[in-house]
Symmetry: C2
Subunit: 206 residues, 2 copies
């Protein structure tokens, strides 16, 4: 009997789940057909059907990372500064699922930096992410919740801050529990609301 489309889809999902678990545990450095086969309880032969070469496996892993990042649950954003805060919190490894995803992102940096096409993809991804942040920052400025200033420049700073906080947290989760991550982010946001207008909320100089 021919396999149904449903079987095929289910098998693909199983394979993707196994790839994800290998990445979360071992990173791209540990991503091999053998490791995925072991995680899946299958033969490497079966996997070569999906991934004829190592590069196909890496490409699938990167697609998976992008898909899962795009479809991850997001905080209700509100508007203005609270939307900026929600977008930045959405990046941080505040729970196990977000920690896995971030660990895989950080791991992908080594692979991507070694390959100019992949590096270009990552650069575009981070530029888009800064653009989205920049729009949120501009909206917060229009509401008077952030002082004037180039939103793209503020977005670049904010993205740097959360990416670096991700890295520190992955290495030292005890030093950076969820609450501390949120406090550090709030310190950062509080500092953004001050200059160049230091008196009170937003840009009100009174």
């Amino acid at each position: 009997m021919p396999r149904t489309k449903g079987d095929h889809e289910a098998r693909r999902r199983d394979v993707s789940e196994a790839v994800w678990r290998v990445l979360a545990a071992h990173g791209f450095g540990g991503l091999t057909l053998r490791a995925v086969a072991a995680e899946l309880g299958a033969t490497t032969g079966l996997l070569t059907h999906y991934f004829p070469a190592k590069r196909d496996l890496v490409a699938h892993a990167l697609d998976l990372l992008e898909e899962r990042s795009a479809s991850r649950p997001r905080r209700a954003a509100g508007s203005g500064l609270s939307a900026v805060r929600a977008a930045l919190l959405d990046v941080l490894p505040l729970n196990a699922e977000a920690t896995d995803a971030n660990r895989i992102w950080v791991s992908s940096w080594d692979v991507a930096l070694a390959d100019s096409a992949l590096s270009g993809d990552h650069a575009r991804r981070y530029a888009q992410s800064r653009d989205r942040l920049s729009d949120l920052i501009a909206a917060a400025q229009r509401l008077g919740e952030l002082p004037a200033g180039d939103p793209a420049r503020i977005a670049a700073g904010a993205q740097a801050f959360v990416l670096g906080l991700v890295v520190q947290t992955l290495f030292d989760p005890t030093a950076f529990p969820a609450q501390r991550q949120a406090e550090l982010l709030d310190d950062y946001l509080a500092s953004l609301t001050s200059p160049p207008a230091p008196h009170g909320e937003g840009t009100d100089p009174s």
Copy 2:
């Protein structure tokens, strides 16, 4: 004739140089005996004398990264806030040499996160780096150049900021030339000087 100690040292330096160049070009993901041998113009047989196993090669690469980071040239620091600024600028990929070193650091994160001993080493390294930064911040506070606040907390934020800026710059050097990196850092430092004491330098609302 027996080889002299000088020969041996010179050969070790050549090997280390080759490891460094492979890391800068291909990261830890591309670090193999074969790649180092090709870079060195030697046989892999010779290299197995230095590195019996892949793990020995990785360990040497991590030692090298630490040594070179510890011995890299540093800016004249001054004191107070200018010492904080110098320490943070010293991290950033502002020139080709610092870009190579940062690219190798970022690459090492994948290797380290996959190995609890290495991950612990990295965690200790970053904690020490935060401690040093914290001392500089406390000194700047004593000089009245930074407002009161937990120096360790400010250091964690500042370290997050520069690490994330490193990552963004490596992926998008065109968007983050040296001058923009320095401007973003100065924006960050300016924001630190504001809260919670709104009347210091940089916060004059006039």
